[in-house]
Structure formats: C-alpha cells, structure tokens
Assembly symmetry: C2
Homo-oligomer: 331 residues x 2
C-alpha cells in the first residue's frame, strides 16, 4: 500500500537499516549516503509510519495533555492558550506531538488516561491544572508515569512548574502600598484554587510587614472568573468607599472591575492584577498595574521538565519544583 522504508532503500541502493539511520540522522552514516537517501525520500514523498517507529523503538514521541473538565471556567482565561503556546513551542523543537485528554467526568478521564499510558501511546503527562486530591494525578503516580503539573498541587511527589504565587501576591500588594494605598482589598475568587489562596497569603504577609491591618471585610471571594462578574462585583458588592487599592487575582475580573471604575469615574482606586499574556494594545492606564506571569514560559518549562524526567540516567528519584519569574509593571 503505502510506500515503506524498503521501497526507499531499494531505490537508493542501500539497506533498510541505512534508511532508518538516515531518518534518525545517525552520525555514523556518511553525508554522501544521507544526501542520496534524503533525495529519494523526497522524490517518493516518503514519510515514516509513526506507529511502526513507536512500536520498534518503544518511543511514542507524544505527551498527553490533561485538561480540566470541559465546563471549567479555565478555558475562558488567556492563561490556557498562552501556556498552550509555550508547550507547543517546546514540543515542536523535539518533534513531539500532543494527545489530548479531556473527558466528561473523572471516571471517563481516568479510563482514557489509563489506556493511553498503559497502552504506551504517551510517554508522559502534562497536567494543565492543579486540584485538590486529583485522582488522575494519583493514578499517574501509581503507575509511575512521568508527569508534570502546571500549577502547585497538594502533593510534593510530582514535578511541577508555577509562578511563586505567594511571592507575587506579596509583591503586588507591596507595590500598591508603595503607591500610597492603605486599605487594600484582595479580590480572589475560589479559595479552593491553590493559586488564589497562595496569592492571598502573600497579600496578608505584605500587609503585616508594612504594619497595615488585615481586614476580613476586604477579602472578596466566591464569584466566577468572568469580566461581567468583575463588573457586577464592583457595582454591587465592593465597598468602594473604604478601599483605595485592590489586588485582583484574575485578569478578566480585573477588567470588569476597571470598566466599572471608569464608568463611575472613580479615579482614586489603584488596581493590580496578574496577567498571563500582556497584549500590547492595552494602553497603560492610570493606577492600573499588573504582574506579567510569563505563562508561555511556564508551558515550555513544563515540557523541558518532562523531557528531563524521561532521561533514564537519573540515579535517584527527585521532584523538580520550579518557579517561573513574573515581572511587575507599575504605572
């Protein structure tokens, strides 16, 4: 049917094994032979059968990407495409592919992962979220499948990459304090999300270090991560009279809040948020600061770590916990 390595070999006047080595760019093959074989491959429009390569070499050259449930607000956030871009960038370098693992419920997702991991369709897993007591992550650990989490899971026996959310919460809050804010609110969201809770910790510590009182009334949670929610939050819930600064964990929420402030022409409230990807077009507005999370870098680092984890020469089991630097942009 399809054209195979034998066909190429025959036409090029070499052995199939030689063609195979040319595909792998094996240094023991002479440039002359390589050129000849490559020319023939082009002529015949030859492409190696990936499944045959995978079976023979025991390398599928693909990673599984584990996404949250498809209903998750996660997908609305620029974080997702940005980190995906980073992952893709790094995988392309290594000529690896991404197999998606979604699923309508945990059971379905687990079965799928079980199948692709045990069935050797993937060499490793990238978790695009960190959640409490994740059964899928536990499974990966049980079967000893190399895995890296993007985020900070409640489980240290796994590789992960993240921003240092405690630190950036601290930095963001400190930035507002240095701009003169005294009554700073923390607009979190779901405190069950580790990054929300960690940034909150940093916020709290920053207040303390600068001798400002921590006031539970200034902590806002329990709303979804959508701009309309930010807008409505500002309109209906925030006690704007008693706030001169806000640390807003989610950038879409921050956008909604700013829209409201603009509408009401409220000019004396500073805001700072955390941005996966800073679009050039955003005019740097007055009293509007942000922390660039460099999420694309998080994605590529995750891939790098997975490749490291795949190296067989690691004497000991160790887990890489890496924090990607974020940069503060104040106005």
């Amino acid at each position: 049917m399809a054209i195979t390595i034998r066909d190429v070999a025959k036409r090029a006047g070499v052995a199939p094994s030689t063609v195979s080595r040319v595909i792998a760019d094996n240094p023991s093959i002479s440039e002359k032979t390589k050129n000849k074989v490559r020319t023939v491959m082009k002529e015949m429009n030859y492409f190696p059968n990936i499944y045959a390569q995978g079976l023979a070499s025991a390398h599928s050259k693909t990673f599984g990407l584990v996404l949250p449930l498809a209903t998750d607000a996660f997908y609305q956030n620029p974080f997702f495409p940005t980190v995906l871009r980073g992952i893709n960038f790094e995988m392309a370098k290594h000529d690896y592919s991404i197999l998606l693992s979604v699923g309508l419920d945990d059971d379905q997702r687990r079965k799928h992962i079980e199948k692709i991991v045990n069935g050797k369709q993937v060499e490793g897993l990238i978790f695009l979220y960190a959640s409490k007591n994740d059964p899928l992550l536990r499974f990966a650990q049980e079967v000893n499948c190399p895995a890296v989490v993007i985020g900070s899971p409640d489980n240290t026996k796994v590789h992960y990459v993240d921003n240092d959310n405690d630190l950036i919460g601290y930095q963001a809050t400190t930035a507002l304090i240095q701009q003169g804010c005294q009554r700073i609110a923390y607009i979190g969201g779901d405190m069950d999300q580790f990054f929300i809770a960690d940034r909150h910790k940093g916020y709290e510590r920053a207040l303390k270090d600068h001798s400002l009182a921590y006031d539970p009334k200034h902590i806002y949670n329990d709303f979804a991560f959508l701009p309309s929610d930010g807008y409505n939050l500002a309109k209906d819930t925030l006690d704007l009279e008693n706030i001169d600064g806000m640390v807003i964990s989610d950038e879409l929420v921050a956008e909604g809040v700013r829209n409201y402030l603009d509408t009401q022409d409220i000019q004396d409230v500073h805001t700072i948020t955390f941005s996966a990807y800073h679009q050039g077009n955003t005019q740097s507005m007055n009293k509007t600061s942000y922390v660039n999370l460099n999420s694309q870098i998080i994605g590529s680092r995750a891939v790098d770590i997975l490749f490291e984890a795949l190296e067989p020469d690691q004497a000991s089991t160790r887990f890489i916990h890496e924090y990607v630097d974020a940069d503060l942009h104040t106005t």
Copy 2:
C-alpha cells in the same frame, strides 16, 4: 518488559489470536472463553499496546484536531470548550483519541499535519475553524485525508458542520423587529470571518423583508471579541441615540455592551446575541434575547461525519454540509 498478549494467552490457556479477538470483542469467540480471558487480563493488568494495534490493523484510532494559531481570540470564547466537549463526548463513544495540532505559524502547523497524516498517526482531521484559503485545509484535500470543518469554509469540496448563520442572522433580526425595534444595529466584528458576514446577510435580508431601511451607519465592525471591547464600543462608538435594537454576533461583546447599557440605565434598547452554551445562572434580563447555537452538538456531529467519511463503502465522493439547528430565546 511489559506484559503482552502472549503472556495473557499462556496464562489463559488459549492462543494469542484468541486473546486478540477477545480484545476486539469478536462475536465468533464463545462467552466462556471471553470471560476466562478477560479475567486473566484483569489479573495481569494487561493493556494492549496501542501502537502495535495501530500498526497491525492500520487504524490509529485517533483524529487530529486542528486549532487556530494560539494567539487567536478564538480561545477566549465559550465556543471552544463547548465544541470540544461535544467532540470529546462522541469520540469517547468510539474509543478514539484526539491528537492536537497547534503551531506557531502556518509552516510549522503544515509540517506537523503532514507528518501525522502521512505517518498514519491520525485517520482524519477536524478543523476547529474556517478561514479564507486555508493552506492546511488545502493540504488535507490534496492528500485525500478525511477532514471535516467546523464552520463554513470558502470551499465546498470538504465536509463541514455549522449553524446556518444566514438563517439565524435573519431570525435574530426578525425577533427584534417583532419586538418593535425599527433602528437595528449589527455589531459584527471581523467581516472576514464567514460567520460574521453570513449573519450580516441574514440581518440585511430581514430588514428588507420587513421594509426597514438598511443603514451602513448601523453596521459596526473592526474591534476584537472581548467583553471590554463591547463595553468600550457601547461607551465610545455606538450611536445609541439612534438605535433601538442590536444584533450582536459575539456573546462576549454582547456582555460588555449590556454592562454598559445597565450602567447608564438605558432600558429601551433590545439586544440579541448568539450563545455557544447558555449558562443556567444568567438571569433572563429584560430586552435581552439570545440564540442558542448548540455548539456542543456541532462538535459531536463533526465527529460523526468524520466516521461516516471513513466508511470504505461510499461509492461516490460526496461532501456533507450540515447545519445544526439553533433555538431562539426571546424575553
């Protein structure tokens, strides 16, 4: 190394070919044998090697999912996770996997697709977008790779699924007219996007059919699809004095527009938009209508069509162009 079909066969006291047939649930194997073999497979925690299956059977059991460039505003829209949910739902039924094809530029994306298609890593492609003169789509056609587009491409020689955007543009506009609107604006966005242009056509036709004048001043384009843009559009650009209804193509933009209207307490302007997935929590507001696009169904239909296209018994080449019904919800 890993446990294979031979190990299972030995332990179960049958031939490897029998085990293979049990895996495939081949009806020619007795229930008794099936049970015995299945028990052993469980005991030994056996999972078939997917690459070996794929190589031997010439079925990779995976489809490639072609995404737009990672920078695309597309990812911000609920359409993406919703359609992904539909795709996943349908693929899970058939026990198929999804291989992602992203890429930082067209060249990289094309090379990757070339590799996975020619290398038999995927049996078909699902395009999650329709764009003008898409080189990737053209490539799929050239190599005769089964493909289905989600959206309406400028190319009829391919399968596709979409809403009937002309029709729903018509229906949405008519709904506003029936609610008494006379000066209806069309908030589109990028007229290069086929769905924006098609809904606009329907809008224009509805006006005509109801003897309302088409006024170019009422057509708004050239802004991005983000809620903040909707808000700012309403604030700075829209001529709200002369508008009593708006057909807003993008639901996030619509959200921004409504936020602005609420703020200004403008109550006499109807809006209607198109929604990929209607969240239950949205209180049905006054003069706020929507068209449910049933995007999840679009996703599952795309998968079904791809499976149909894979059937070898199709005598003639034919292309399926399917429109998924949308439902109008007025207030």
